[in-house]
Symmetry: C2
Subunit: 194 residues, 2 copies
Amino acid sequence: MGRSTARREEILTVAGELFRQKGYHATSMQDIAERLQLQRGSLYAHIESKEELLFEIVDRAADRFLAGIEQAWREGTTARDRLRRALAAHMAVIAEHRDTASVFFHEWRFLRADLRSRIQAKRDRYEARWRELIADGVARGEFRAVDPRFAALLALSAVNWAYQWYSPDGPLAPDDVAATFAELILKGLEAGSS
Amino acid sequence: MGRSTARREEILTVAGELFRQKGYHATSMQDIAERLQLQRGSLYAHIESKEELLFEIVDRAADRFLAGIEQAWREGTTARDRLRRALAAHMAVIAEHRDTASVFFHEWRFLRADLRSRIQAKRDRYEARWRELIADGVARGEFRAVDPRFAALLALSAVNWAYQWYSPDGPLAPDDVAATFAELILKGLEAGSS
């Protein structure tokens, strides 16, 4: 990684922290420059605008979430197994990139319309993959005939909300949290459990 | 309701809208005054500070959530029934007060320490009530021997997240959403389903 790329990564990290702590609108380029001990002018050598930073943070998060469910889909052997893996992958993204996750969930709505709709398309694709995973489990006879929209929402809500309470300094590894939720959710989904 | 009380309610409503739309830090007293077509000075006749508004919005939300679970506890006859009622009550608070709910979830952390700890105490009490509800279901033999912390988190996450996707203009009434989640969650909890 060249010096310029490394600096760009640093800028993205600091911007993510500040957007989460203060909110996008309340964070200025000056705040970002100060935290990095840079002149505001030097910051503009690396990035064009505050919105570019917001977009890149949110877009990377979307890509991480998508990569997680695609891998769970490829590597999982049953619907149960895929659901477990997809929850673990989602939880790992949140646990490893908490600032980014928080910005992804809250601040993304401040993007201007054309950028927001690019993120919306990725969010829609991600949620669609979750519904497919559930619907596939129903079709295979692994899951009860649940409404895939709601079952997917329940699973996603459980792990999304973790960014509010999960602490990497606490006793639970992200995998443990995901596994415990998976167990509860799978009990509710499994065919033959009614 | 006197004129002054009515005006105060109006100020709280507008502050809630703006705090949700722009974030607490990015909203000024001037913004609130303008939206109300008031002079900034007149605003200060009704309230002391922006933080007072934030506290009152968040504190009322906390009280609504608490009242909901207390009522579910009193009026429910079984643990299943209480869980259904508690989910419906929580979902109703979010659906009826979406700005407030959003401010309750995100902006509350910007309160100064002493005010924040008063809200934290109510949040803790609310979550404790949820864990008691689950633990009671386990003790009654209605639920499997689940970890009440995680089961409560799953239920609360499902309805909390609804503030992100629920639309009062959509096809689903808040009660329908709560009932569908309750069914999925109860299937996962019920004794004899393993």
